[in-house]
């Protein structure tokens, strides 16, 4: 870390205490998210120049809406990863949330009461995750791998593995929320920005946020200083699941139908977005901005390959390359800092 204040031996203690080593700018440049954001901007500019289709309003609209779903789920995932865990069940919870919403609306219930049911079902999965991880100390990877299976199975049982495409009296409202737009901005994008700001503020400005960072860095320290770690962990997983459930509702509205393979292997894309955005899988660091930028970059890569006429079989290779590249650049930077 470069010290922005010259070290003078005569430094008066009071003024020394009053200073700060990390300035705002050095902190910003030290963020992986900043570099990934620049990479995304460069990619977008290059594509706008290379193709006449990328910068078209319709394509921008599609790209932003497509990454919004992954981005929203990544908000919850970021919080989980900062806390030192992982949530593999999000893809299945997206499906479960969408399915409960669809079944309730299909049965003639209104949008809002159905949404309450869908979010409750999602929250239950999150509670189960959190309780098993916090109280029985089962690794989050194992617990959420279990609920990944359970939640999708529950969606299949509830729907009898049927596709649901009739949503009762409030169908128009659901379709508008998921598939509509306001002032040319797709509703899922508005949801992403709103929820992103909310999550960001919660992480930065509440004791809850401080504690999430604390348990990710040193869980024992948090316990010893009196942070109520089990309740905190449960809240983290409930948050992640409810965000996933909400995404399910929006996706149901966008797709106009819900099948039991909705959100299949979405957790991997979400984790990729979060990691590209600078979240450390060991816990203790990560940003909301990074997660959103990571999700955007993945979608831009996907979209650009299509526009450039490259076979979609290459998508996985490019996304995988960027996951490793983003983390490798960050590691190299950290190593250089250690040597200084």
């Amino acid at each position: 870390m470069p010290d922005s204040t010259p070290n003078q031996p005569a430094d008066d203690l009071a003024s020394a205490i009053g200073r700060q080593t990390n300035t705002r700018w050095s902190a910003l440049l030290g963020e992986q998210a900043t570099w990934v954001f620049l990479a995304a901007v460069v990619a977008a500019v290059a594509l706008s120049l290379a193709t006449d289709t990328f910068a078209s309003p319709q394509n921008i609209f599609n790209v932003s809406r497509n990454f919004a779903f992954v981005g929203i789920v990544a908000l919850g995932m970021t919080v989980v990863i900062i806390s030192g865990g992982i949530d593999l069940s999000v893809g299945s919870v997206v499906c479960l949330g969408a399915m409960v919403q669809a079944i309730c609306m299909n049965a003639g219930y209104g949008f809002y009461s159905s949404a309450v049911a869908a979010l409750t079902a999602s929250a239950l999965v999150g509670f189960l995750n959190g309780a098993l991880i916090a109280c029985l100390r089962i690794p989050s990877f194992v617990v959420t791998l279990g609920t990944l299976s359970i939640a999708r199975s529950a969606a299949m049982v509830l729907s009898d593995n049927r596709m649901i495409f009739e949503f009762g009296p409030d169908q128009a409202l659901l379709f508008n929320l998921g598939g509509g737009s306001t002032y040319g901005i797709a509703h899922p994008v508005i949801a992403l920005v709103t929820l992103g700001l909310m999550t960001s503020l919660m992480l930065r400005w509440t004791p809850w946020g401080t504690h999430v960072f604390a348990i990710g860095a040193n869980e024992r320290a948090a316990v010893l200083t009196g942070v109520k770690v089990p309740a905190l962990k449960i809240s983290v997983y409930v948050f992640s699941s409810m965000i996933a459930g909400l995404t399910g509702i929006l996706e149901a509205g966008w797709l106009g139908g819900v099948t039991t393979n909705l959100g299949q292997s979405m957790e991997l894309t979400v984790i990729a977005a979060t990691v590209i955005g600078g979240a450390n899988l060991l816990g203790g660091s990560g940003t909301i901005f990074g997660a959103i930028v990571g999700a955007a970059l993945i979608e831009i890569i996907r979209n650009s390959l299509i526009l450039l006429g490259i076979s979609t079989f290459w998508q996985g290779a490019f996304v995988g390359f960027f996951i490793v590249l983003a983390v490798a650049v960050d590691r190299l930077r950290a190593l250089r800092e250690l040597n200084l």
Binding site: L13, A16, T21, N22, P207, H211, F213, A214, A221, G226
Partner: protein, 246 residues
Amino acid sequence: MTVLRLEGIAKRFGAIEALKGVSLAVSRGEVIGLMGDNGAGKSTLVKIIAGNFRPTSGQIFLKEQEVVFHGPLDARRHGIEIVYQDLALCDNLTAAANVFLGRELTRRIGPFRINDYPAMNRRAGDLFRELKSETRPKDLVRSMSGGQRQAVAIARTRLSNADIVLMDEPTAAISVRQVAEVLNLIRLLRDQGVAVILISHRMPDVFGVADRVAVLRRGNVVADKPVAKTSPEEVTGLITGAIEHA
């Protein structure tokens, strides 16, 4: 004035008798060195004072009032603070955030409670000044020296104006220069009337800063005397068992 008195504290873990009736008293502004070999019962005793364990039998008195601790938060409410061996700091948080971890200052904005960073930074800065440590509240703990980390951990104990501070091996893993810094911090605490219980393996530290030394062996207090009336040789003998009792 006696701030902490233990009477016949015993602790069993199944068949193992970790403490066999320990009695100990600590006064205001006194530094007591608690010594003993691995497995002598030091950490069990510390955990009982800190409220992590309930004793199997025996009583704890704070200012001559009997107390029973239901967990570490309860002990903290009664004015007992612990500085852990690894300091229990979060590297990714600022010094001020670490000082206030678990008891953040907040202010209300409408229905929300948000962190009051200016107040926390100001208060943490005051504490560092009191401890004469050049530690900046807004700096991340990750980039701090061993001495500054100690100051952060000790500032935490000053936040609540604790009567009793337990320090678990504070000098075990730091450089010589930093040891001197930590011993100075302990003297500062003592001068402010805090009773310090210093758990240590290091003879020079205990003899350098403590007023009294208590030696634990196999769950018993085998010596409890002023530092001036003993010597490192005697204490070593007491720890190993070469000297039965003193």
